[in-house]
Amino acid sequence: MINREEKKTDVIVVGAGPAGIACGITLARAGKEVVIIERGLFAGSKNVFGGAIYTHSVKELFPNFETEAPLERRTVEHNYAILGEKDATTISYKKDGNGSYSIIRAKFDRWMADEAKKAGAYLVEETVVRELIVENGKVIGVRTELEEYFADIVVLADGVNSLLARQIGLRKDIETKDVALSVKEVIKLDKDIINQRFNIKDDEGAIVEIFGGPMLGMLGLGFMYTNTDSVTIGLGVTLNELVKANYRPFELLEQLKNHPKIAPLIEGGTLKEYSAHMIPEGGYKKIPKLVSDGVMVVGDAAMLVNNLHWEGTNLALISGKLAGETAIEALDDKDFSKKSLSRYEKKLNQSFVMKDMKTYKDLFDVMHVRKKAFLDYYLRKVNAFFEMFTSADGVPKRENYWKFIKSIFTDRGIIELFKDVFAIIKLVWSILV
């Protein structure tokens, strides 16, 4: 305890992911002393995500990133693929410059961390924070494997598992229904082959968002992203579904890769890297307490993920930035109390981050209850419709139409149909109002 002052800094940030770095660089730019502690070999080395970052949010922190950062491809096309067991219906939206890039996390996060270092932040790598040091109910520092470090404010950017937020009771144990387990593969393919298969040019990228297929009936979604000379394919399924159904996540991914819609896109590629990660899916209702005396929680640790829109890194970046701004004010006021730091919560509430979390607060509840309808039956039915519509089998069209309409009532049943419609109306209402 003698050298406490020597080892004291303004702010300690635990975790050098997007949220942690955003917080760190915001403080460093304001001339505050900030130490970012990262458990991996380098910033980004333990980080996994789907594949795209959103221009708007990254620009708020790195205005010149489009010319300076290591980017893969600029998204020009979003595809929504509804997979049956053997067939598929795809909706595709093409527009250049609609605001996202595919990136490789290990490269991009390292670049962001370097920018933070340039701004004056200290980055301590290969160091695990084992616990928070709490004195009189106030967080005053962190304990790593080797040392204790002290700070006026500690920011928890330690990811979805956030053992530290749990340690001080800011969050409860995560339930299996509130996280998705995601597995993904980065598959190496020639640039030209990617361009041909996805109908894009060298620097252009496509995203495929996948419903159904091996995940029919489960609360799970798949994704594909194009990188410069590789393609990312993965899926995330709510953990309780995997537990219940006795599924191995990588076997589901293998099935997805073998689906007739997907297989030709990755044919002939070689596996560059396999990875897995948990995604917070609990939504607004599962957001932990975000502040306490001397501490704030940001990014995945705060469960800030907008699962419908596949947004996570942008919420992480903005929450980190807002926590950084709050810390600057608190340092200037020399007030690190919960009350002072609760300005972070107010800022979040005023930003799109919490507004979007609120908008979809009921989404997952509805999906958990109605998944057999919306993530199984209707997905199959979309494909069945197009199967009927595109077939020329000598059956008069009117007969086909009536058969199709009748089938909805017979296999779904009138009560279930009412419940489905009611659920949709309720959900849309909760989103819009």
Partner: protein, 91 residues
């Protein structure tokens, strides 16, 4: 499906001791033993003879799913030491 060929693509720096420590008595009573199938790296295998988990902790991807899913909620799970564990070059 064997997951090993996927794990070969990863860079690991394994520790000499496991960062994953189950409570053996709980494992014996566990009904689902879901860790043996949900783990994306196939870290856990059940040894019927010894009535205990075999833990290939050096293959761990550090996702934390086993901790959340553990039926007895008793798996002692922590991150590997700072210089150890998996390194993602793509992520």
């Amino acid at each position: 499906m064997n997951i090993d060929k996927n794990l070969y693509t990863l860079k690991y720096s394994p520790d000499t001791e496991s960062h994953l420590v189950p409570v053996k008595e709980d494992c014996k009573l566990c009904v689902s033993r879901c860790c043996t199938y949900i783990c994306p790296a196939g870290v856990y295998e059940w040894n019927e003879e010894k009535q205990e988990l075999i833990i290939n902790y050096e293959n761990c991807l550090e996702c934390g799913a086993c901790r959340v899913a553990c039926e007895k909620q008793s798996l002692k799970w922590e991150y590997p030491k700072g210089t150890k564990g998996v390194t993602f070059k793509q992520g």
